[in-house]
Subunit: 368 residues, 4 copies
């Protein structure tokens, strides 16, 4: 950036550029790319730019309190780390670095079933930093007998606080970058650690993660019957599915289009949020991920009724660029920015934000 000429980089954009430089371009593409034409990917960010926040003034709110409570876990900021695969591909410290930084920031890490570090090690790393650190386990329901049960048992034993069941993946996404780069397997030395020693796995080897279009609400019901952990359903965009999920007793929803990596035609998540909140917002907490890059994005989602938001790629940018410290920088920056935006909106906490503060740019009316 040349002073006087261009807009300068931000904390996140600088980490992103550093990550791009450090990573093998093929791995960068894996993390950064999306499905198909990458329309959903681009729209996730663009949709936030179409919305504006009406500030309130002179409310005497005092310093912003960014903390929220999520399924009984306190998060110091309304931003959790959404599940993403293969953190050791981004940085040698992998999920351990992410877990320590997230725990130190005082928020929830949703560790991926496709992590390169086993869930027990992830929770241990988080708890080494903060005794009550919250880690949730992301789960693809597995059609093979006994596999899901074993994964749930491990998550429970590791002390996870919730199961985040991904519902948007009845099949793997078609990612043109990975196809083009021929990227389909982890490099030697990295494994999907949670998939080791499962029923049906080769001795000492890992099972592949299966995605199945046969999965149904029945499978979710069976899962729920077999665990004491609350279930967060991830990938819900249609209000009718949100209602069904509430009826089925899930504890929370995560409005997500899988970061634009599954259905390329999916709407931006913040475009889908209002209808989901209208459908079930009074029954259970609704989270959102996809395209969140600034404090404004977070506060817009909160004002539209989200209990919290998740970040995916930004955490990976921090991790790839500077390891644990990079993830810490991302979360610190977002926390500061959320506090700033809340204060500028006249809000002390999430409860002071309301849907009437969100307007569509150029229309002056609330999104629908």
């Amino acid at each position: 950036m040349t002073p006087g000429r261009d807009r300068p980089p931000t904390v996140l954009s600088e980490l992103r550029e550093k990550a791009r430089t450090r990573l093998d371009p093929v791995h960068w593409d894996f993390f950064e790319g999306g499905a198909g034409t990458e329309t959903a990917l681009a729209e996730n960010e663009r949709a936030f730019r179409r919305l504006a926040l009406l500030p309130r003034v002179l409310r005497g709110a005092g310093p912003a309190d960014t903390a929220v409570t999520l399924l009984g876990d306190r998060a110091e900021l309304p931003v959790v780390v959404s599940p993403t695969a293969f953190h050791r591909l981004a940085h040698p410290d992998g999920e351990l670095a992410t877990a320590r930084a997230t725990a130190a920031a005082g928020t929830v890490l949703i560790t991926s079933m496709a992590a390169t570090t086993a869930v027990a090690e992830v929770t241990a790393a988080a708890r080494s930093v903060r005794a009550d650190a919250a880690v949730w386990f992301q789960l693809y329901l597995q059609p093979a007998p006994g596999v899901t049960e074993e994964l749930v048992r491990r998550a429970e034993q590791a002390g996870c606080g919730a199961l985040v069941v991904t519902a948007d993946s009845p099949v793997f996404g078609r990612r043109a970058r990975d196809d083009h780069n021929g990227f389909h397997d982890l490099p030697a030395g990295l494994t999907a650690a949670n998939m080791r020693d499962l029923p049906g796995a080769p001795p000492g080897g890992t099972r592949d993660i299966a995605m199945s279009p046969a999965l149904s609400w029945d499978d979710l019901r069976r899962l729920r019957a077999g665990t004491r952990l609350p279930i967060v359903l991830k990938g819900v965009l249609h209000p009718d599915d949100a209602r069904r999920a509430a009826d089925e007793g899930v504890a929370a929803l995560l409005v997500s289009n899988h970061g634009g990596r599954q259905l390329d035609a999916a709407p931006a998540t913040v475009d889908a949020l209002p209808a989901v909140v209208a459908a079930v917002g009074d029954r259970l907490p609704v989270l959102l991920d996809g395209g969140v890059r600034t404090g404004s994005d977070v506060v817009i989602a909160l004002a539209l009724g989200a209990a919290a938001v998740g970040i995916g790629r930004p955490a990976l940018w921090g991790l790839a660029a500077e390891g644990e410290d990079g993830v810490a920088q991302v979360l610190a920056e977002l926390r500061a920015d959320v506090a700033q935006v809340m204060t500028l909106c006249g809000a002390r906490d999430r409860g002071d934000l309301s849907r009437g503060q969100v307007v569509v740019r150029g229309q002056g009316t609330a999104p629908c």
Copy 2:
């Protein structure tokens, strides 16, 4: 594409670029260009980008079944090959290659009256691959006496399954590229084979295809009276015309703006589809062509009520790039992508898709 820097090519975009390289630029312009300012051409694609699909989750749909039944013919995918002229200009194998690849893919070829291969040879090529291959014949109603009748007779004898009457061409389109390039006649050695030996044609020569603004519903009624073949009316965009067509007993409609090659001011076909479906969707099947490039485009059209869609230029890209195999690649890619998108939408088949799953990006509401 450089890994880490750009979005990679897709199967279709690579075939398109290869076709552009292989073809005489003047012939490329003939296939690729449109009428006037090429606004309709560009809008056909752009309009799909304005729409999004709301996926449904956990429906236990199982693997997607992309097959549809069209006028009694089974198509393995809801994508037919729409009529385009002069396939031998794209590749020496011409319509024979297109017919074999389309038959092998198990879907319908609508062969053009302006083909460089006679309809009987086209159907024979298709049936050499699959005994029950479906070929429909595209027809411009001819004002000269006896010509239409003879064409219909040939289509019937060739075993065509339907007549696709083009209604959007009371006059030739004004194509600036062709005018600029001086492209008005087929090169030596190529002929509009269906127009040979017709009443009024010079001995051994071909009649020109006539387009007439005098044609009316009366002409269509006469055609219908003289054939046992079902009639698909192509080029309908106005709901009042759709109603009239249904009243006249046509078997199906094809919502089309002739690939942006006739009325440059025409709306994108997917913008026009909902009103046509609302008008007659319960009375007869409605197909659509124009701008279909991905599985998402196909599924959006199906969810809005289309029975199937047609592709024009993509088949020509495949043909020009790699002959029969190129067409096969295009159809295989679209079938795979349709299956992928249906599965991601929670749909086993077309019947599981509904209009409520289509939303306008940035609005969260259904298109009208």
Copy 3:
């Protein structure tokens, strides 16, 4: 244009580029530029691109009849030549060339009060080509006593068919290009010929054209009382002004923003047209100018209720590029294109077009 790579030029765009090359850049800027930020100028064209035409099919319309009747004058095409100043600045033959080409095309020329050729010479040139050629006289009401009266007398004596009173110019437009280029006076040898020998003019010299914010409906009423010619009010955009004009007995309206040369914040004329037609379309003919470049633009305006449209800059492009023949090419091209678009819309004549055929792109609904 390279075949296979770019969209080719059109008749109008080629004439425009040729004009740009031939003209002194300062004079090009005078003709081509607009007021202020040139937003109104750009929007006039852009607004047409936002609209689409729904074609009708199989109506048996036959060849299109592009002729219309305007205040009793027959025009072979629904395109008149709107008034523009200083044609001799564009070409040595000036208004004489424009008049001959327009008469030959069989349509109306609205000659400007700021012409470089006197109205009597203009009408004579037109009538030398076609005995009943229609020429209307554009008039700025002059506050000085007797001036307007003398101008009206000359227009009547010259055989003009109507007075086109420009209402959008209570003051000269602020044109950044002309200010920057220091262009404020006609070069030596050119004069505003209609302003010669008027009351108060220096002997043998010309009066300046006055624009006055004091002009009111009273002045228009006085004008009307003193002439037998019908009055067309030009520059009306607000429906309340349209109603008032109808009440005042004007014969027709010309919806215009002066080609974007006066109020830079004015809406595109085709955006303003529907409300004006809704207000007075049943009482008097409504014409439109501004941004008309293609037959589609013309037919969109007609379908929205315009009786005809005017072109300004396109006629000047033709004139500057190739004199009389260039103007003839522009009118021939537009006539052919209008006929083409009407036929593609299923219309034999203007009466077959209806507002229901116009939709907003991406909305599927009529403009309001």
Copy 4:
């Protein structure tokens, strides 16, 4: 600008470019930049481009009278100079130049609490040019005891006509350019002169300006009780806050997003104006600043109900480029342009403008 090729510069754009050249790039960034992604900054200008003005014709309005009365002060144009910090950073003459030019133009200067010249010197400079020059004092309510009171006393003694209380700044904006450039302190020799010798300041030194999220309507009420000056509340965008402000007895509102320097997610001010006017327009005058660059922008705001508008950066461009004369040029240009646009709209004065004259481009309807 090359004649015949590009749009030429305007008075304001030329001054802006000259300012950019003259200023230290770091200082340019301070004046020109905004918060966060600079979305609010860009939208302020863009939103005006989305709106159009419907002119009225033949109203006999006569020459435009651009004068307005604001809290009893006459302004020769409906454009005041909004408060901006550190004018001596832009030009050695600083606020004295701004004050003289603004007084000479006959309008109101809102001098900033963060000025580099004390308010008494600013008012003296203004009055040296025009005895009744109006200067208002912009105030951030200070939480420390006695500070606000002393500032108010000084403003009163200096003869300010109003207190403009900034309500949009419970915290400093996060400006990426300044952070990147490391610009956080005034260069040696410049001070925030109004902050000198205040309670709690170091001897001979200045207090920092405090921003506090604890400030509330109670603080405003105390302020009002302690001064005879009318209070203008600046930074209101939400209609509920506008209503509350009216209930609290403020004399006027200034709809502002602080030039895009505080809440990056804020809507464009002209998008927020209609709802504020609808809420309180009949109870107190509503002003607007943000993105005003042309006479059209001013008149659009007036037609939507603003009593006047403020300019921030344009005055700084003039000041940095050419000192007092530059500011004078900016105000003269805007006055001339406002008069031009009002006349073209058929308005003699602000009272002749109405909301019905404002339409959204491409929609033909009024903004909401």
